[in-house]
């Protein structure tokens, strides 16, 4: 069966279990599914967070995620993948992002999910603004996220 790529950017919440079921429904070639959910924390380095607001670049965000989805498909034998990224205001405990990868065997599914998350963090055009008791501020990019993405470019 052909591999199915689903990419969605939406304000609404998602249900990880439903997305996994949709990806695997009616298929007998999938032997492994890995799912990663990114969830809004209530604190960052000890500072309390009331909410995050996610801004994105419509058009480029979808294109950039799709580029990396196709790269993942080319690098690993995947049977399908689903990527959902929420935008707008998100409060602690709520979902932010979902990556689901499906393959015949677990290794490809694990690797592809990690690869996609590393690139979502560093090259998909999304920006987080944090609300706390002290006001609002843009979240700073982290060097360790760049390092995590860079390791995939080494052969």
């Amino acid at each position: 069966m052909t591999a199915i790529i689903t990419v969605r950017i939406q304000e609404a919440d998602f249900d990880a279990a439903r997305e996994i079921a949709a990806l695997t429904k009616g298929r007998t070639d999938i032997g492994a599914v890995v799912s990663f959910s990114g969830i809004c924390r209530g604190n960052d380095d000890g500072a309390s967070i009331a909410a995050l607001t996610l801004e994105h670049y419509p058009g480029m965000a979808e294109a950039e995620i799709m580029r990396h989805a196709h790269e993942a498909m080319a690098r690993w034998p995947l049977n399908g993948l689903t990527i959902i990224h929420r935008v707008g205001r998100i409060t602690p405990g709520e979902n932010i992002v979902l990556v689901v990868t499906a393959s015949s065997h677990r290794q490809a599914a694990f690797h592809a999910a990690e690869f996609l998350m590393d690139y979502l963090k560093t090259s998909a055009p999304f920006w987080k603004r944090e609300e706390s008791g002290a006001g609002t501020s843009w979240v700073e990019a982290r060097a360790h996220d760049d390092a995590a993405a860079a390791r995939w470019t080494k052969s």
Binding site: Y57, E64, I96, L120, K121, S123, P125, W127
Partner: protein, 83 residues
């Protein structure tokens, strides 16, 4: 060409998008940043640390030395913090 600004670049410039006609001599993203920086205090503030600013031409990430010839839409934004 259309310019778009996101996150704190958008806030500092005070616009989310605009259409500009850069003068002759503005060939690259770096040139464009330098030209924009001279358009007023808000632009100077937004682009005061040009090394931090990321750019995209027609939805594709580019480096400061990228040529802007033929670009329809150029976006400027801070390092990304999604995921």
């Amino acid at each position: 060409m259309k310019l778009k600004y996101f996150a704190w670049v958008r806030e500092r410039v005070g616009l989310s998008e605009e259409t500009v006609e850069p003068p002759a001599g503005v060939h690259t993203i770096g040139d464009l940043i330098a030209w924009l920086s001279g358009r007023g205090e808000s632009y100077a503030h937004a682009f005061e640390r040009p090394k931090v600013i990321r750019a995209a031409i027609d939805h594709v990430h580019v480096r400061p030395d990228a040529a802007i010839t033929g670009a329809r839409e150029i976006a400027f934004f801070p390092p990304m913090t999604g995921g």
